[in-house]
Protein backbone atom coordinates (compact mmCIF):
# COMPACT_ATOMS: atom_id res chain seq x y z
CA UNK A 1 0.00 0.00 0.00
CA UNK A 2 1.45 3.36 -0.92
CA UNK A 3 1.55 6.09 1.68
CA UNK A 4 -0.71 8.37 -0.33
CA UNK A 5 -3.50 5.83 -0.59
CA UNK A 6 -6.14 6.45 2.09
CA UNK A 7 -6.56 3.58 4.53
CA UNK A 8 -10.07 2.21 4.81
CA UNK A 9 -11.10 1.71 8.43
CA UNK A 10 -14.32 -0.07 9.42
CA UNK A 11 -16.66 2.66 10.71
CA UNK A 12 -17.28 0.99 14.08
CA UNK A 13 -13.58 0.50 14.73
CA UNK A 14 -12.85 4.10 13.81
CA UNK A 15 -15.58 5.33 16.16
CA UNK A 16 -14.30 3.18 19.02
CA UNK A 17 -10.72 4.40 18.60
CA UNK A 18 -11.84 8.02 18.40
CA UNK A 19 -13.93 7.54 21.55
CA UNK A 20 -10.81 6.36 23.39
CA UNK A 21 -8.67 9.19 22.00
CA UNK A 22 -11.10 11.77 23.35
CA UNK A 23 -10.62 10.49 26.92
CA UNK A 24 -7.02 11.65 27.28
CA UNK A 25 -5.20 15.01 27.29
CA UNK A 26 -2.81 13.39 24.77
CA UNK A 27 -4.64 11.16 22.30
CA UNK A 28 -1.62 8.88 21.98
CA UNK A 29 -2.60 7.43 25.35
CA UNK A 30 -5.29 5.53 23.45
CA UNK A 31 -2.70 3.26 21.81
CA UNK A 32 -3.40 0.20 23.99
CA UNK A 33 -7.21 0.37 23.92
CA UNK A 34 -7.06 1.11 20.18
CA UNK A 35 -4.81 -1.87 19.47
CA UNK A 36 -7.02 -4.06 21.63
CA UNK A 37 -10.07 -2.93 19.63
CA UNK A 38 -8.31 -3.59 16.31
CA UNK A 39 -7.21 -7.01 17.53
CA UNK A 40 -10.82 -7.86 18.33
CA UNK A 41 -11.77 -7.02 14.72
CA UNK A 42 -8.79 -8.61 12.95
CA UNK A 43 -7.98 -11.45 15.33
CA UNK A 44 -4.43 -10.17 15.86
CA UNK A 45 -2.33 -7.04 15.41
CA UNK A 46 -1.90 -7.73 11.70
CA UNK A 47 -0.20 -5.25 9.37
CA UNK A 48 -3.68 -4.24 8.20
CA UNK A 49 -4.88 -3.74 11.79
CA UNK A 50 -1.83 -1.59 12.57
CA UNK A 51 -2.37 0.48 9.38
CA UNK A 52 -5.95 1.17 10.41
CA UNK A 53 -5.14 2.19 13.98
CA UNK A 54 -2.27 4.33 12.69
CA UNK A 55 -4.55 6.09 10.21
CA UNK A 56 -7.06 7.02 12.91
CA UNK A 57 -4.52 7.96 15.57
CA UNK A 58 -2.15 9.85 13.31
CA UNK A 59 0.92 7.82 14.28
CA UNK A 60 3.02 5.42 12.19
CA UNK A 61 2.32 1.68 11.96
CA UNK A 62 5.94 1.11 13.02
CA UNK A 63 5.33 2.99 16.25
CA UNK A 64 2.29 0.82 16.98
CA UNK A 65 4.23 -2.33 16.15
CA UNK A 66 6.87 -1.39 18.71
CA UNK A 67 4.11 -0.91 21.28
CA UNK A 68 2.24 -4.11 20.39
CA UNK A 69 5.38 -6.24 20.64
CA UNK A 70 5.89 -5.14 24.25
CA UNK A 71 2.63 -6.52 25.63
CA UNK A 72 1.72 -10.17 26.13
CA UNK A 73 -1.97 -9.74 25.30
CA UNK A 74 -1.36 -8.09 21.94
CA UNK A 75 -0.73 -10.81 19.39
CA UNK A 76 1.88 -10.19 16.72
CA UNK A 77 1.14 -13.47 14.92
CA UNK A 78 -2.19 -14.98 13.86
CA UNK A 79 -3.76 -16.99 16.72
CA UNK A 80 -6.85 -19.07 17.46
CA UNK A 81 -9.94 -17.06 18.33
CA UNK A 82 -10.43 -18.54 21.82
CA UNK A 83 -7.68 -17.59 24.22
CA UNK A 84 -6.82 -20.00 27.04
CA UNK A 85 -4.16 -18.45 29.26
CA UNK A 86 -2.96 -21.02 31.79
CA UNK A 87 -1.16 -19.45 34.74
CA UNK A 88 2.12 -21.31 35.22
CA UNK A 89 3.71 -18.98 37.73
CA UNK A 90 4.93 -19.97 41.17
CA UNK A 91 1.71 -20.31 43.20
CA UNK A 92 -0.17 -22.16 40.46
CA UNK A 93 2.78 -24.39 39.61
CA UNK A 94 3.04 -25.44 43.26
CA UNK A 95 -0.48 -26.79 42.77
CA UNK A 96 0.00 -28.59 39.48
CA UNK A 97 -0.21 -25.88 36.81
CA UNK A 98 2.55 -27.26 34.58
CA UNK A 99 0.79 -30.62 34.31
CA UNK A 100 -2.51 -28.80 33.71
CA UNK A 101 -1.04 -26.70 30.93
CA UNK A 102 0.42 -29.78 29.24
CA UNK A 103 -2.97 -31.52 29.44
CA UNK A 104 -4.85 -28.57 27.92
CA UNK A 105 -2.25 -28.14 25.19
CA UNK A 106 -2.45 -31.84 24.44
CA UNK A 107 -6.26 -31.94 24.38
CA UNK A 108 -6.51 -28.84 22.18
CA UNK A 109 -4.02 -30.47 19.81
CA UNK A 110 -3.82 -28.74 16.46
CA UNK A 111 -7.31 -27.23 16.69
CA UNK A 112 -6.82 -23.76 15.20
CA UNK A 113 -9.77 -22.42 17.22
CA UNK A 114 -7.67 -22.30 20.37
CA UNK A 115 -4.84 -20.08 21.51
CA UNK A 116 -3.49 -22.05 24.47
CA UNK A 117 -0.59 -20.28 26.19
CA UNK A 118 1.31 -20.58 29.43
CA UNK A 119 0.90 -17.23 31.17
CA UNK A 120 2.52 -15.25 33.96
CA UNK A 121 0.74 -14.76 37.29
CA UNK A 122 -2.85 -13.84 36.49
CA UNK A 123 -3.60 -12.66 40.03
CA UNK A 124 -5.83 -15.53 41.07
CA UNK A 125 -3.61 -17.77 43.21
CA UNK A 126 -6.62 -18.38 45.47
CA UNK A 127 -8.10 -20.61 42.75
CA UNK A 128 -4.79 -22.21 41.69
CA UNK A 129 -4.26 -23.86 39.33
CA UNK A 130 -6.35 -21.67 37.08
CA UNK A 131 -6.81 -20.33 33.60
CA UNK A 132 -8.29 -17.27 31.95
CA UNK A 133 -10.58 -18.46 29.20
CA UNK A 134 -11.54 -15.64 26.86
CA UNK A 135 -11.06 -13.35 29.85
CA UNK A 136 -13.13 -15.44 32.30
CA UNK A 137 -11.18 -16.79 35.27
CA UNK A 138 -11.83 -20.46 36.17
CA UNK A 139 -10.27 -22.63 38.89
CA UNK A 140 -9.17 -24.56 40.76
CA UNK A 141 -8.85 -26.80 37.71
CA UNK A 142 -8.00 -30.46 37.64
CA UNK A 143 -6.93 -32.54 34.66
CA UNK A 144 -10.48 -33.95 34.67
CA UNK A 145 -11.88 -30.52 33.79
CA UNK A 146 -9.89 -30.14 30.59
CA UNK A 147 -12.23 -31.83 28.13
CA UNK A 148 -15.27 -30.06 29.58
CA UNK A 149 -13.48 -26.72 29.34
CA UNK A 150 -12.71 -27.17 25.66
CA UNK A 151 -16.17 -28.59 24.91
CA UNK A 152 -17.84 -25.60 26.59
CA UNK A 153 -15.71 -23.27 24.48
CA UNK A 154 -16.47 -25.10 21.23
CA UNK A 155 -20.20 -25.08 22.00
CA UNK A 156 -20.21 -21.41 22.96
CA UNK A 157 -21.45 -22.21 26.48
CA UNK A 158 -20.24 -20.48 29.65
CA UNK A 159 -17.02 -22.26 30.57
CA UNK A 160 -17.17 -24.45 33.71
CA UNK A 161 -19.80 -22.21 35.38
CA UNK A 162 -19.27 -23.72 38.84
CA UNK A 163 -15.57 -22.96 38.75
CA UNK A 164 -15.77 -19.34 37.72
CA UNK A 165 -14.01 -16.90 40.01
CA UNK A 166 -17.09 -14.67 40.29
CA UNK A 167 -18.76 -17.44 42.35
CA UNK A 168 -16.03 -17.50 44.95
CA UNK A 169 -16.63 -16.29 48.50
CA UNK A 170 -13.79 -14.85 50.58
CA UNK A 171 -12.45 -17.55 52.97
CA UNK A 172 -11.80 -15.01 55.76
CA UNK A 173 -14.22 -16.33 58.37
CA UNK A 174 -14.68 -12.96 60.06
CA UNK A 175 -15.26 -11.03 56.85
CA UNK A 176 -18.94 -10.26 56.29
CA UNK A 177 -19.55 -10.72 60.03
Amino acid sequence: MSVTEPVEVPAELRAEIERHMALYPDSRSAALPALEAAQRVHGWCSPEALEQVAAVMGVTPAYLESVASFYDMLETEPVGKHSVYVCTNISCSLRGADELFAAIKDAAGSDAEFNVRPFECLGACDIAPMASVDGVYVGPLSIDDVLQLLDDLRAGRPVLPEKQLSKRVCPDAEANA
Binding site: D26, L74, I90, S93, G123, C125
Partner: protein, 425 residues
Protein backbone atom coordinates in the same frame (compact mmCIF):
# COMPACT_ATOMS: atom_id res chain seq x y z
CA UNK B 1 -11.07 -6.05 62.90
CA UNK B 2 -12.46 -5.85 59.38
CA UNK B 3 -12.45 -2.53 57.58
CA UNK B 4 -12.13 -3.30 53.87
CA UNK B 5 -13.72 -6.74 54.07
CA UNK B 6 -16.54 -5.81 56.46
CA UNK B 7 -19.27 -6.54 53.89
CA UNK B 8 -17.14 -7.89 51.08
CA UNK B 9 -19.46 -10.68 49.98
CA UNK B 10 -22.72 -8.85 50.43
CA UNK B 11 -24.95 -9.33 47.40
CA UNK B 12 -24.99 -6.23 45.26
CA UNK B 13 -22.14 -4.45 47.07
CA UNK B 14 -20.73 -3.59 43.64
CA UNK B 15 -23.81 -1.42 43.01
CA UNK B 16 -24.09 2.14 44.27
CA UNK B 17 -27.41 1.41 45.95
CA UNK B 18 -26.10 -1.31 48.28
CA UNK B 19 -22.77 0.46 48.80
CA UNK B 20 -24.62 3.58 49.95
CA UNK B 21 -26.89 1.54 52.24
CA UNK B 22 -23.70 0.37 53.91
CA UNK B 23 -22.58 3.94 54.51
CA UNK B 24 -20.76 4.36 51.21
CA UNK B 25 -19.96 7.89 49.98
CA UNK B 26 -20.64 9.36 53.45
CA UNK B 27 -16.88 9.82 53.81
CA UNK B 28 -16.78 11.69 50.52
CA UNK B 29 -19.45 14.11 51.77
CA UNK B 30 -17.57 14.52 55.02
CA UNK B 31 -14.26 15.17 53.25
CA UNK B 32 -15.71 17.67 50.80
CA UNK B 33 -17.04 19.69 53.72
CA UNK B 34 -13.50 19.96 55.07
CA UNK B 35 -10.53 21.92 53.74
CA UNK B 36 -8.22 19.85 51.50
CA UNK B 37 -5.40 20.48 54.00
CA UNK B 38 -7.53 19.02 56.79
CA UNK B 39 -8.20 15.89 54.71
CA UNK B 40 -4.48 15.56 54.05
CA UNK B 41 -3.82 15.98 57.79
CA UNK B 42 -6.13 13.00 58.51
CA UNK B 43 -4.27 10.88 55.96
CA UNK B 44 -0.94 11.82 57.51
CA UNK B 45 -2.23 11.17 61.03
CA UNK B 46 -3.40 7.70 60.00
CA UNK B 47 0.17 6.62 59.27
CA UNK B 48 -1.14 4.64 56.29
CA UNK B 49 1.73 3.17 54.31
CA UNK B 50 1.36 2.28 50.63
CA UNK B 51 -0.08 -1.18 50.10
CA UNK B 52 1.43 -1.79 46.67
CA UNK B 53 4.88 -2.93 47.71
CA UNK B 54 7.14 -0.04 48.69
CA UNK B 55 5.28 0.85 51.91
CA UNK B 56 5.83 4.59 51.57
CA UNK B 57 3.70 6.85 53.81
CA UNK B 58 0.65 7.81 51.77
CA UNK B 59 0.04 11.20 53.38
CA UNK B 60 3.63 12.21 52.83
CA UNK B 61 3.40 11.18 49.17
CA UNK B 62 0.38 13.47 48.73
CA UNK B 63 2.21 16.33 50.44
CA UNK B 64 5.10 16.06 47.93
CA UNK B 65 2.86 17.36 45.13
CA UNK B 66 3.47 21.04 44.37
CA UNK B 67 0.75 23.40 45.54
CA UNK B 68 -1.08 25.87 43.33
CA UNK B 69 -3.38 25.73 40.35
CA UNK B 70 -1.39 23.62 37.91
CA UNK B 71 -2.71 20.45 36.28
CA UNK B 72 -2.16 17.57 38.66
CA UNK B 73 -2.89 13.91 38.12
CA UNK B 74 -3.86 11.03 40.30
CA UNK B 75 -3.15 7.53 39.01
CA UNK B 76 -4.41 4.42 40.73
CA UNK B 77 -2.04 1.52 40.18
CA UNK B 78 -4.31 -1.47 39.56
CA UNK B 79 -1.73 -3.41 37.58
CA UNK B 80 -1.51 -6.01 40.34
CA UNK B 81 1.00 -8.47 38.84
CA UNK B 82 3.41 -9.37 41.61
CA UNK B 83 3.22 -13.18 41.64
CA UNK B 84 1.14 -14.32 44.58
CA UNK B 85 -0.86 -11.08 44.86
CA UNK B 86 -4.61 -11.01 44.24
CA UNK B 87 -6.08 -8.70 46.89
CA UNK B 88 -6.79 -5.69 44.65
CA UNK B 89 -8.66 -8.00 42.30
CA UNK B 90 -11.11 -9.01 45.04
CA UNK B 91 -11.59 -5.39 46.17
CA UNK B 92 -12.28 -4.12 42.64
CA UNK B 93 -14.54 -7.02 41.80
CA UNK B 94 -16.68 -6.87 44.92
CA UNK B 95 -16.42 -3.27 46.12
CA UNK B 96 -15.50 -1.01 43.17
CA UNK B 97 -17.26 2.02 44.69
CA UNK B 98 -14.94 1.90 47.71
CA UNK B 99 -12.01 2.47 45.36
CA UNK B 100 -13.79 5.23 43.43
CA UNK B 101 -14.73 6.99 46.66
CA UNK B 102 -11.11 6.77 47.86
CA UNK B 103 -9.83 8.19 44.59
CA UNK B 104 -12.17 11.18 44.72
CA UNK B 105 -11.23 11.97 48.33
CA UNK B 106 -7.49 11.61 47.64
CA UNK B 107 -7.77 13.81 44.54
CA UNK B 108 -9.46 16.49 46.67
CA UNK B 109 -6.63 16.37 49.22
CA UNK B 110 -3.99 16.46 46.46
CA UNK B 111 -5.71 19.07 44.30
CA UNK B 112 -5.75 16.72 41.30
CA UNK B 113 -8.44 17.13 38.66
CA UNK B 114 -7.70 14.26 36.34
CA UNK B 115 -7.41 10.66 37.42
CA UNK B 116 -6.88 7.26 35.89
CA UNK B 117 -7.17 3.70 37.08
CA UNK B 118 -4.49 1.69 35.26
CA UNK B 119 -5.84 -1.85 35.51
CA UNK B 120 -3.99 -4.84 34.10
CA UNK B 121 -5.57 -6.08 30.86
CA UNK B 122 -6.09 -9.58 32.22
CA UNK B 123 -8.61 -8.24 34.77
CA UNK B 124 -11.41 -8.05 32.21
CA UNK B 125 -14.30 -8.68 34.59
CA UNK B 126 -12.96 -6.26 37.17
CA UNK B 127 -12.46 -3.51 34.59
CA UNK B 128 -16.01 -4.00 33.34
CA UNK B 129 -17.32 -3.78 36.92
CA UNK B 130 -15.28 -0.62 37.53
CA UNK B 131 -16.66 0.95 34.35
CA UNK B 132 -20.20 0.14 35.48
CA UNK B 133 -19.58 1.54 38.96
CA UNK B 134 -17.96 4.64 37.49
CA UNK B 135 -21.03 5.29 35.34
CA UNK B 136 -23.18 5.09 38.48
CA UNK B 137 -20.84 7.41 40.37
CA UNK B 138 -21.02 9.92 37.52
CA UNK B 139 -24.79 9.78 37.55
CA UNK B 140 -24.85 10.52 41.28
CA UNK B 141 -22.46 13.45 40.88
CA UNK B 142 -19.62 11.80 42.84
CA UNK B 143 -17.29 12.13 39.87
CA UNK B 144 -17.22 14.89 37.24
CA UNK B 145 -17.70 18.65 37.41
CA UNK B 146 -18.25 20.42 40.73
CA UNK B 147 -18.68 17.27 42.81
CA UNK B 148 -21.66 17.62 45.20
CA UNK B 149 -21.42 21.39 44.86
CA UNK B 150 -17.96 21.49 46.46
CA UNK B 151 -16.23 23.22 43.56
CA UNK B 152 -13.89 20.23 43.21
CA UNK B 153 -13.92 18.55 39.79
CA UNK B 154 -12.43 15.23 38.79
CA UNK B 155 -12.42 13.20 35.60
CA UNK B 156 -11.77 9.49 36.02
CA UNK B 157 -10.89 7.02 33.27
CA UNK B 158 -10.47 3.26 33.61
CA UNK B 159 -7.45 2.45 31.45
CA UNK B 160 -6.76 -1.19 30.58
CA UNK B 161 -3.23 -2.46 30.20
CA UNK B 162 -2.29 -5.29 27.86
CA UNK B 163 -0.13 -7.69 29.84
CA UNK B 164 3.27 -6.57 31.16
CA UNK B 165 4.49 -7.00 34.74
CA UNK B 166 6.77 -3.97 34.47
CA UNK B 167 3.76 -1.66 34.07
CA UNK B 168 3.17 -2.13 37.80
CA UNK B 169 6.41 -0.19 38.33
CA UNK B 170 5.17 3.38 38.63
CA UNK B 171 7.23 5.01 35.88
CA UNK B 172 6.76 2.07 33.51
CA UNK B 173 3.06 2.49 34.20
CA UNK B 174 3.20 6.17 33.29
CA UNK B 175 4.90 5.47 29.94
CA UNK B 176 2.34 2.76 29.24
CA UNK B 177 -0.50 5.13 30.12
CA UNK B 178 0.97 7.61 27.65
CA UNK B 179 0.60 4.97 24.94
CA UNK B 180 4.19 3.78 24.81
CA UNK B 181 6.14 0.64 25.63
CA UNK B 182 6.18 0.36 29.41
CA UNK B 183 9.84 1.14 29.97
CA UNK B 184 10.74 2.54 33.39
CA UNK B 185 12.10 6.07 33.59
CA UNK B 186 15.17 7.40 35.30
CA UNK B 187 14.40 8.89 38.72
CA UNK B 188 14.63 11.73 39.67
CA UNK B 189 12.55 13.50 38.58
CA UNK B 190 10.00 11.70 40.70
CA UNK B 191 6.39 11.45 39.53
CA UNK B 192 5.28 13.91 42.23
CA UNK B 193 7.14 16.58 40.24
CA UNK B 194 7.16 15.20 36.72
CA UNK B 195 4.89 12.26 36.10
CA UNK B 196 2.08 11.72 33.66
CA UNK B 197 2.37 14.09 30.64
CA UNK B 198 5.26 15.69 32.57
CA UNK B 199 2.80 16.96 35.20
CA UNK B 200 2.83 16.40 38.98
CA UNK B 201 1.35 12.98 39.62
CA UNK B 202 0.24 11.05 42.68
CA UNK B 203 0.39 7.28 42.20
CA UNK B 204 -1.21 4.96 44.72
CA UNK B 205 -2.14 1.32 44.87
CA UNK B 206 -5.79 0.12 44.87
CA UNK B 207 -5.81 -1.05 48.49
CA UNK B 208 -4.18 2.19 49.67
CA UNK B 209 -6.84 4.33 48.00
CA UNK B 210 -9.66 2.01 49.04
CA UNK B 211 -8.60 2.55 52.67
CA UNK B 212 -9.02 6.33 52.42
CA UNK B 213 -12.82 6.41 53.00
CA UNK B 214 -12.36 4.36 56.19
CA UNK B 215 -9.70 6.77 57.48
CA UNK B 216 -11.94 9.78 56.85
CA UNK B 217 -14.84 7.98 58.50
CA UNK B 218 -13.05 6.90 61.70
CA UNK B 219 -10.45 9.68 61.77
CA UNK B 220 -6.73 9.33 61.18
CA UNK B 221 -5.85 9.15 64.87
CA UNK B 222 -8.23 6.25 65.53
CA UNK B 223 -7.00 4.38 62.46
CA UNK B 224 -3.45 4.80 63.76
CA UNK B 225 -4.38 2.94 66.95
CA UNK B 226 -4.59 -0.25 64.87
CA UNK B 227 -1.47 -2.21 64.03
CA UNK B 228 2.02 -1.49 65.31
CA UNK B 229 4.05 1.65 65.96
CA UNK B 230 5.35 1.83 62.38
CA UNK B 231 2.81 -0.35 60.54
CA UNK B 232 -0.60 1.11 61.15
CA UNK B 233 -3.97 -0.31 60.34
CA UNK B 234 -5.21 -3.46 58.70
CA UNK B 235 -3.81 -5.13 55.60
CA UNK B 236 -5.17 -7.51 53.04
CA UNK B 237 -2.91 -10.54 52.80
CA UNK B 238 -3.05 -12.91 49.84
CA UNK B 239 -2.03 -16.39 50.95
CA UNK B 240 -1.29 -19.00 48.30
CA UNK B 241 0.76 -22.06 47.42
CA UNK B 242 0.82 -25.01 49.81
CA UNK B 243 -1.90 -24.00 52.23
CA UNK B 244 -5.28 -25.59 52.80
CA UNK B 245 -7.35 -22.40 52.52
CA UNK B 246 -5.70 -20.07 49.99
CA UNK B 247 -7.31 -16.66 49.75
CA UNK B 248 -7.36 -13.06 50.91
CA UNK B 249 -7.49 -12.30 54.63
CA UNK B 250 -7.75 -8.92 56.31
CA UNK B 251 -5.40 -8.83 59.29
CA UNK B 252 -4.25 -6.24 61.78
CA UNK B 253 -0.59 -5.55 61.00
CA UNK B 254 1.77 -7.08 63.55
CA UNK B 255 0.03 -10.38 64.26
CA UNK B 256 2.33 -13.44 64.23
CA UNK B 257 2.99 -14.74 60.73
CA UNK B 258 2.15 -18.23 61.95
CA UNK B 259 -1.36 -17.09 62.72
CA UNK B 260 -1.81 -16.15 59.06
CA UNK B 261 -0.13 -19.18 57.49
CA UNK B 262 -1.56 -21.78 59.88
CA UNK B 263 -4.44 -20.12 61.74
CA UNK B 264 -6.17 -18.46 58.83
CA UNK B 265 -4.95 -20.32 55.76
CA UNK B 266 -4.76 -23.72 57.45
CA UNK B 267 -1.04 -24.37 56.81
CA UNK B 268 0.27 -27.03 54.43
CA UNK B 269 -1.77 -30.21 53.91
CA UNK B 270 -1.57 -32.81 56.70
CA UNK B 271 1.79 -34.45 57.13
CA UNK B 272 3.71 -31.70 55.40
CA UNK B 273 5.71 -28.83 56.78
CA UNK B 274 6.62 -25.33 55.65
CA UNK B 275 9.98 -25.37 53.87
CA UNK B 276 10.09 -21.69 53.00
CA UNK B 277 7.72 -18.80 52.41
CA UNK B 278 7.79 -15.57 50.48
CA UNK B 279 6.34 -12.90 52.82
CA UNK B 280 5.70 -10.25 50.15
CA UNK B 281 5.31 -11.75 46.70
CA UNK B 282 7.88 -13.61 44.61
CA UNK B 283 10.24 -10.60 44.71
CA UNK B 284 10.81 -10.91 48.45
CA UNK B 285 13.71 -12.87 49.94
CA UNK B 286 12.38 -16.15 51.33
CA UNK B 287 12.02 -16.88 55.01
CA UNK B 288 11.95 -20.34 56.59
CA UNK B 289 9.76 -22.13 59.10
CA UNK B 290 11.96 -20.71 61.87
CA UNK B 291 10.69 -17.23 60.99
CA UNK B 292 7.00 -18.01 61.36
CA UNK B 293 6.73 -16.45 64.80
CA UNK B 294 7.82 -13.04 63.55
CA UNK B 295 5.15 -10.35 63.65
CA UNK B 296 3.81 -9.71 60.16
CA UNK B 297 4.50 -6.01 59.62
CA UNK B 298 6.75 -3.79 57.48
CA UNK B 299 9.62 -3.44 59.96
CA UNK B 300 9.73 -7.00 61.29
CA UNK B 301 9.93 -8.37 57.76
CA UNK B 302 12.65 -5.87 56.85
CA UNK B 303 14.62 -6.72 60.00
CA UNK B 304 14.45 -10.40 59.06
CA UNK B 305 16.09 -9.53 55.74
CA UNK B 306 12.94 -9.65 53.65
CA UNK B 307 9.97 -7.38 53.03
CA UNK B 308 6.23 -7.16 53.47
CA UNK B 309 5.93 -6.02 49.84
CA UNK B 310 2.42 -6.36 48.50
CA UNK B 311 1.36 -8.59 51.38
CA UNK B 312 1.42 -11.78 49.34
CA UNK B 313 2.48 -14.86 51.29
CA UNK B 314 3.49 -17.83 49.12
CA UNK B 315 4.02 -21.03 51.08
CA UNK B 316 6.29 -23.81 49.80
CA UNK B 317 6.13 -27.19 51.55
CA UNK B 318 8.93 -29.61 52.38
CA UNK B 319 8.30 -31.91 49.41
CA UNK B 320 9.12 -29.24 46.85
CA UNK B 321 12.65 -29.20 45.39
CA UNK B 322 14.07 -25.72 45.99
CA UNK B 323 15.59 -25.74 42.50
CA UNK B 324 12.10 -25.80 40.96
CA UNK B 325 11.14 -22.74 42.98
CA UNK B 326 14.29 -20.87 41.95
CA UNK B 327 13.82 -21.71 38.27
CA UNK B 328 10.17 -20.60 38.25
CA UNK B 329 11.06 -17.30 39.86
CA UNK B 330 14.10 -16.60 37.65
CA UNK B 331 12.28 -17.49 34.42
CA UNK B 332 9.47 -15.10 35.30
CA UNK B 333 11.79 -12.13 35.75
CA UNK B 334 13.72 -13.00 32.61
CA UNK B 335 10.46 -12.93 30.66
CA UNK B 336 9.37 -9.63 32.20
CA UNK B 337 12.66 -7.72 32.01
CA UNK B 338 12.13 -4.83 29.61
CA UNK B 339 15.75 -5.17 28.47
CA UNK B 340 16.73 -1.55 29.03
CA UNK B 341 19.40 -2.06 31.72
CA UNK B 342 22.22 -4.56 31.14
CA UNK B 343 22.51 -6.00 34.68
CA UNK B 344 18.81 -6.94 34.65
CA UNK B 345 18.57 -8.12 31.02
CA UNK B 346 21.76 -10.21 31.16
CA UNK B 347 21.57 -11.11 34.83
CA UNK B 348 18.10 -12.64 34.64
CA UNK B 349 19.06 -14.55 31.49
CA UNK B 350 22.30 -15.94 32.88
CA UNK B 351 20.69 -16.87 36.18
CA UNK B 352 18.15 -19.01 34.32
CA UNK B 353 20.93 -20.60 32.25
CA UNK B 354 22.98 -21.42 35.34
CA UNK B 355 19.97 -22.86 37.16
CA UNK B 356 19.32 -25.04 34.11
CA UNK B 357 22.93 -26.24 34.30
CA UNK B 358 22.28 -27.21 37.91
CA UNK B 359 19.19 -29.09 36.78
CA UNK B 360 20.90 -31.03 34.00
CA UNK B 361 24.00 -31.91 35.96
CA UNK B 362 26.40 -29.64 34.07
CA UNK B 363 27.04 -27.36 37.06
CA UNK B 364 29.71 -27.49 39.76
CA UNK B 365 29.45 -25.93 43.24
CA UNK B 366 31.46 -23.01 41.84
CA UNK B 367 28.45 -22.11 39.70
CA UNK B 368 26.61 -21.32 42.93
CA UNK B 369 29.29 -18.75 43.77
CA UNK B 370 29.03 -17.21 40.32
CA UNK B 371 25.25 -17.17 40.51
CA UNK B 372 25.33 -15.50 43.92
CA UNK B 373 27.75 -12.87 42.63
CA UNK B 374 25.54 -12.18 39.59
CA UNK B 375 22.69 -11.39 41.99
CA UNK B 376 24.90 -8.98 43.94
CA UNK B 377 25.86 -7.17 40.75
CA UNK B 378 22.24 -6.65 39.77
CA UNK B 379 21.18 -5.14 43.09
CA UNK B 380 20.92 -1.36 42.96
CA UNK B 381 22.40 -1.11 39.46
CA UNK B 382 19.30 -0.62 37.32
CA UNK B 383 16.73 2.08 36.60
CA UNK B 384 13.99 0.13 38.35
CA UNK B 385 13.85 -2.74 40.80
CA UNK B 386 12.79 -5.54 38.43
CA UNK B 387 16.29 -7.01 38.42
CA UNK B 388 16.48 -6.66 42.19
CA UNK B 389 13.15 -8.44 42.37
CA UNK B 390 14.88 -11.53 41.00
CA UNK B 391 18.22 -11.02 42.73
CA UNK B 392 16.68 -10.80 46.21
CA UNK B 393 14.76 -14.10 46.24
CA UNK B 394 17.38 -16.02 44.22
CA UNK B 395 20.17 -14.75 46.46
CA UNK B 396 18.21 -15.79 49.54
CA UNK B 397 17.39 -19.23 48.11
CA UNK B 398 21.07 -19.92 47.38
CA UNK B 399 22.14 -18.64 50.81
CA UNK B 400 19.51 -20.53 52.80
CA UNK B 401 19.35 -23.77 50.83
CA UNK B 402 22.94 -24.11 49.68
CA UNK B 403 23.19 -27.72 50.90
CA UNK B 404 20.19 -28.70 48.85
CA UNK B 405 21.57 -27.02 45.72
CA UNK B 406 24.93 -28.78 46.22
CA UNK B 407 23.25 -32.14 46.77
CA UNK B 408 21.23 -31.60 43.61
CA UNK B 409 24.36 -30.72 41.64
CA UNK B 410 26.06 -33.94 42.79
CA UNK B 411 23.04 -36.14 42.08
CA UNK B 412 22.40 -34.60 38.67
CA UNK B 413 26.07 -34.93 37.72
CA UNK B 414 26.13 -38.55 38.81
CA UNK B 415 22.97 -39.25 36.81
CA UNK B 416 24.33 -37.44 33.76
CA UNK B 417 27.60 -39.37 33.98
CA UNK B 418 25.75 -42.66 34.31
CA UNK B 419 23.74 -41.82 31.20
CA UNK B 420 26.88 -40.90 29.30
CA UNK B 421 28.49 -44.21 30.25
CA UNK B 422 25.38 -46.12 29.17
CA UNK B 423 25.17 -44.34 25.83
CA UNK B 424 28.81 -45.21 25.11
CA UNK B 425 28.43 -48.82 26.15
Amino acid sequence: MKLLFKNIDETGLATREVYEQRGGYASLRKALAMEPEAVLAELEASGLRGRGGAGFAMGKKVSFLPKGSIDKYLVCNADESEPGTFKDRELMQKSPHMLIEGIVIASFAAGANRSFIYIRGEYVEQADLLDAALAEAHEAGYVGENILGSGHSLSLVVHRGAGAYICGEETGLLDSLEGKRGNPRLKPPFPANQGLYQGPTLINNVETLATVPTIIDMGGARYAELGTETSKGTKLVSVSGHVQRPGNYEIELGIPSREIVYGLAGGPPDGREVKCWFPGGSSSPVLTKDDLDLPYDFDSMAKAGSMLGSGAIIVVDDRTPILNVALKVAKFYRHESCGKCTPCREGTNWTVKMLERVQTGEATPMDLEIMASVQEHILGNCLCVLGDAMAMPIGSLIAKFRDEFEAHIEQARAAANANAVLSHA
